[in-house]
Structures are given as C-alpha cells and as structure tokens.
C-alpha cells in the first residue's frame, strides 16, 4: 500500500560519453582541495581549542559519510547509528581506560574501583587491554552487529518505516543496557577522564593536534572510499534498489544483500567515528547513543544533502557548528531554528543544500545555452 521509494535524484553520472578534461579532474581536484583545507589551512588558521572542536565535528562528518551511503544512496533510513558509534567508542575507550590504569600501576580503571563490585576485571574487558584487538573491535564489532541485524531484517523484507523504528528501538535498548551496568560500563557517566592515546598524553596540545590530523585523514580516506562505492557497479545497483526494489529482484539480484553491504559499511564508519571521538573529546557515554543523538546523526546529512557525499559531510559539520555556537546565544531560538531547518531541508529541499548548488548550476547552463531548456 505504501511506497517506500524516495524520489531523490541521484547525481551519479551514468558513464557520460566523452568527458572534457575539466570534468574528469573535478573529483581529484575537489579531493585535493579538501585535503589542503583540512590538513593545511585549518590547523594553521585555528587555535588549539577551535581545532579540537573541528575534530569533534569531523567525527560526526565520518558518520555522515556512512549515512549518505546507506540512506542517500540505499534509501535505508538509519536512525540507529548511535548504536554503532557507541560500540566503536566504547571499544576504544575501554582500551584507553585500561592503558591509563596500567600507566598508573592500577589493576582496574578508576570508575570500577569506585562503583565496581569485585576486584577482578570483568572477563569481557580483558582482551581490550591489547591495543590491536581493541582497534580491530572498533570496526569489527559494529559491522558484526550490523551484519547480524541487517541479515535478519532485510531477509524478511522489513523496510521503510519499520526499519527506522526498529533502529530507534535498538538504540534505546543499548543505551538503557549500558546505563544499567554501572559497575562495568560506568553507567550514565560513561567512560570519562581519558588521559592517553596509545602512549601519548592527551594533556599535551601537540598530541591533541595529532588526533585532529588522524581524524581528518580518516575522513578524507573514507570519503574517497565512499566515492568509489558510489560510482561502482555496486553503487548503481544500490540506487536501483532504493528506487525500485522489486525491479531489481526481477532482474535476478538479491536486494537484501545489496542493502546489507551498505548498512554494514555505514556501521563500520560510524564505529570508526565513535572510536576517534573518544581521544578527541575524552568521553563516551550512553547519552551519545540513544534515540535523540541517533536522529542527530541524520540531521546533518539531511540538511547538507543526503545523496551528495560532500553535501552530507559539510551539512554534518555545519549543523554541529551551529548547535554549539547558536545554542549559547539563543537557547530557545536555536530549538525553533533547528526544528525549522529540519522541516525546510527535508520537507521542501530533499536534496539538501547541495541541491541548491545543482539547481543554480543548471540554471546557469540553461541561460548560457540560449535559455531554451527553461521554457522546455
């Protein structure tokens, strides 16, 4: 009865015949520009404090890359990205807390000594003392959870609103569970007061800047990866599944598998973002996992343009920046503005702000080519 397709036009060019040199250089040059901005200009122009803030926003942008893939291209409204962000973040924070404790010669992380029940480290904490295991888990854990859930859900053709609400329920469940296990997870406080990052003290502003560089580099690499996925055969198949799942099924593909890949990759990206968020901000807590932050992860992509990679990334950064700047000056006004932004961006500009650019470019093209297309 209801259709779940989203009439958002993909901007993927379908192997357009002879591309001019300028067009072919567009992507590499845009990437180079991004690299110069993020790795060169931003660190020079911003104070330590502002740069640390930017590092945090870039973590949200990494999540947005995944959202753009799963939602923008795949039509999967992933309203539970907080789950994967949290899994990655907790995996990283658990290792860093253990390393901090080891540095000060203690057996248990500080919060366990205060709120824990016994003297022994819980068994499921132990492997996280190994840095390689913990690093791997920041990506493997979220991807594994996404794979299991996605396999079950997509195979049974649970989709659209059902999928979105299920994701929300899962985010709520994980955050409630984490809060309930205070002795081993830190409860509502989460894991805080993280001192070091693989042996480097986070108190030192130089190391804080290093964390920024790592985050910026990861973001650029993941954008490149996502871009490759977008223009690959798989990317086209994903858009096809989004626009008409049944037709793809009739063509002999299994849409469940196509969606599963996008969902799992997006989860891995969110996990990595969570892992990087921990050294950048020094905290991971259930409050970053629940229903509201999970919706928040989608806002930026929606505002910037869900189907456009650059749009989603810039949108995520802009919304996070606006939140922290405007909410001080106008706490009430900001809430109205945020609501309105959502209504306008999603309701009336489904391509996000990125589509404004496309519209403007088309109009310019139209006017230069004698304006016949405008009347057509």
């Amino acid at each position: 009865m209801t259709t779940t397709t989203e009439p958002v036009k993909a901007v993927t060019p379908h192997n357009p015949p002879p591309t001019p040199l300028l067009e072919r250089l567009r992507v590499p040059s845009a990437f180079a520009l991004g690299a110069v901005l993020l790795l060169g200009i931003a660190p020079l122009a911003l104070s330590d404090f502002r740069l640390a803030l930017l590092a945090k926003y870039l973590c949200y942008a990494i999540v947005a890359v995944g959202v753009s893939l799963a939602w923008g291209r795949g039509g999967l409204l992933v309203l539970g990205q907080g789950v994967f962000f949290g899994l990655g973040g907790y995996a990283m924070a658990m290792h860093l807390k253990l390393a901090d404790a080891a540095d000060t010669g203690q057996k248990l992380p500080d919060f366990m000594q205060l709120y824990g029940t016994g003297d022994a480290l819980p068994w499921w904490w132990e492997p996280f003392a190994n840095p390689l295991f913990a690093l791997a888990m920041t990506v493997v854990l979220p991807m594994a959870v996404a794979a299991i859930l996605g396999f079950l859900v997509f195979r049974r053709r649970v989709k659209g609103a059902y999928f979105a609400i299920l994701s929300q329920a899962l985010a709520a469940a994980l955050s409630i569970w984490l809060i309930g296990q205070q002795a081993t997870t830190g409860g509502t406080n989460g894991l805080t007061d993280i001192q070091g990052f693989f042996g480097y003290s986070l108190d030192d502003p130089v190391n804080q800047r290093m964390v920024y560089f790592v985050i910026a580099a990861v973001l650029l690499l993941l954008m490149l990866l996502a871009r490759q996925l977008f223009v690959s055969r798989y990317g086209e198949l994903l858009v096809a599944v989004r626009d008409s799942e049944e037709r793809v099924r009739f063509l002999g593909y299994n849409p469940a598998n196509v969606k599963l890949v996008a969902y799992v990759v997006a989860a891995g990206m969110a996990g990595l973002a969570g892992a990087l968020f921990v050294p950048a901000v020094g905290i991971i807590s259930p409050a970053l996992i629940g229903i509201v932050p999970s919706i928040g992860f989608v806002i930026g992509a929606a505002v910037g343009g869900r189907a456009s990679l650059v749009g989603a990334v810039l949108g995520a950064i802009a919304v996070a920046w606006a939140q922290s700047t405007l909410s001080d000056a106008f706490p009430a006004g900001w809430t109205y503005f945020q609501g309105l932004l959502f209504v306008v961006a999603v309701g009336f500009l489904p391509g996000g702000l990125a589509s404004l650019w496309t519209v403007a470019r088309n109009r310019r093209k139209a006017t230069t080519s004698s304006g016949s297309e405008v009347t057509a």
Partner: protein, 295 residues
C-alpha cells in the same frame, strides 16, 4: 496468587496506557503510512489543555470531563493543521515525514516551554481518581488506572463504530485499501486524509488528558511515549485496530511480568529485543491488510 492477580491488573493497566497513546497512530501511521513524530506533542497538548482548563474550572472532576472533548478538539485541530501545512505534500515520501515531523515536535516542545515554562506543571486530580477499590483477597485496583482502561476501551469502541458505520468511516476505509480507486470513485481523498488526521491527533489529545492522572505534565512528556506508541503499531500491523489492541495489552502484561521478576531496565531491553525477534516471524506485524501492492 495475590501477586499474580495484582500484576495482571498492572499489566492490563500498562497496556491501557499503551493502547491510548497508540490508538491515534494506528489511524495516521497504520492507515495512512505517515510517521508522525509530533504525535507525542499532541499528547502534550491534551495534558496542557487539562492544566489550562483547571485554572478556570475549580472542580477537579468537572474540569477533567470538560478537558476530554476540548483536548480532542485542540489536538485534532493541531493535527489537521499539520496535515494541511506539511504532511499532504509528503504522502509519497513516508520516511521524510518522520524527519519533518520530528522537526515539528522540537518546535512544539519549545513553544510549550515558552508558554508554560520549562518546569513540569501540576493538575489536581479529583479525589475519586486518586483513590482505589479493594476487591478482596488483598487485591486493590487503582481508580485512575480503571479510568484509563475504561477510556481506552471506549475510544476503541467509538473509533470502530466510526470506521464501520459512518459514511466518513467508509470513505476512510476505501482510501486506505486503494487510494487511486477511491479517488476515481469520487472520494475527495484530500479531505478524507485531513479528517483521519484530525481524529487520530484528537485521540492523542484525549490520551494526554488521561495521562495527567499518572505521569508528569511538561514540555518533553511526549518524548516519553512516542517510541512505545510506534512499537505498538508496528507490532500490531498496519490497517487493523485489533492488532494494536492485542499488542498493547500483550506488551503491557509482558513488561509487568518481566519488571516484577527482573529489573525495569532489563524488562525494557528484553521487550525491545522480543519485538525485533517478533518482526522476524511476522515482518508486517500481527495483522496485515492484504493488498495487491508489491511494495
């Protein structure tokens, strides 16, 4: 034995609250496919209506009775306005309505904060409804819960009658089953949509009045209920009232049993996981409306 009976009543009363908050959604989401995240704020509007009316009507009992129809109108009109302003433009994009109405819910919460202040407000419940009846054997039934149960069942009955017997109900069912066919048969689907939204949102207002008896009344109260309400509709299945009724009571009893034997947090997590598992078994929910649509 006393424990089992008391807990059964508790489960039924939790179920009644779930049913009341989800009933409006079975219409707007279940029948029209629109995910209205601002549904919780219509519940809030109903609760604040009770608060405002109590300032002019001093008798707690009378003000509660007056609040029921007034809250239905207030929330219903808000819903109809929302449908007219935004949702009718988005019928082909159900997922986008989720995000758009979430934005609306943010604005409505802030509006409530600006009008009534951020702290919770209190309403005075009639003494009769803060009391309880003892039915012997150590079993007591809280009057407020009985009232909510009665109100929930009454609302289901009224809604069923409207859908079954009135011309409007016939038109709503026609639009739900096949929108295009209904339209070519001369039904003004736009007007039917608005009426459906009016009734669905109005029911949220009624739920808000009832919830003043058991919960807090504040700008964010809607967020407490919205996910639970959606889960009831999703599990119940699209397009059928009976699915939501059965689901609400089943979830209520499941939750009360789990809460009694474990902890509230564990109960919440288990219920959510159970729902995910249930959708494996029946991905379209308990009852589905058979259509020829592929999607």
């Amino acid at each position: 034995m006393t424990v089992i009976l008391n807990q059964s009543f508790t489960g039924i009363s939790i179920g009644a609250v779930l049913l009341l908050i989800a009933l409006g959604l079975t219409l707007t989401f279940g029948q029209m496919g629109v995910i209205n995240m601002a549904h919780g704020e219509f519940i809030m509007a109903g609760a604040y209506t009770t608060y405002v009316l109590q300032k002019s009507i001093s008798s707690a009992g009378l003000s509660l009775l007056v609040a029921l129809p007034v809250a239905f109108l207030v929330a219903g009109l808000m819903g109809a306005l929302l449908e007219w302003l935004l949702i009718r433009r988005l019928y082909t994009r159900p997922l986008d309505t989720l995000l758009v109405t979430w934005g609306v819910s943010l604005m409505l919460q802030q509006l409530a904060r600006d009008i009534f202040g951020a702290p919770n407000v209190q309403t005075h419940a009639p003494d009769l409804l803060t009391d309880n009846i003892s039915v012997g054997g150590g079993i007591t039934l809280a009057n407020s819960r009985l009232f909510i149960l009665g109100l929930a069942l009454l609302s289901v009955l009224a809604l069923t009658l409207i859908l079954r017997l009135t011309p409007l109900g016939r038109r709503i069912r026609a639009v739900v089953q096949n929108r295009d066919l209904a339209e070519v048969s001369g039904i003004a689907t736009g007007r039917v949509d608005r009426m459906t939204f009016f009734i669905g949102s109005g029911l949220a207002g009624v739920a808000g009045v009832a919830l003043t008896l058991v919960g807090p009344i504040g700008p964010t109260m809607g967020t407490n209920y919205i996910v639970d309400a959606f889960l009831v509709v999703v599990v119940g299945g699209i397009g059928q009232l009976k699915g939501s009724v059965i689901t609400a009571f089943a979830l209520g009893v499941l939750q009360s049993v789990l809460e009694y034997s474990t902890t509230v947090s564990v109960a919440k997590v288990v219920v959510l996981v159970a729902i995910v598992a249930f959708l494996q078994w029946r991905p379209q929910g308990l009852y589905t409306l058979r259509t020829r649509s592929l999607a």
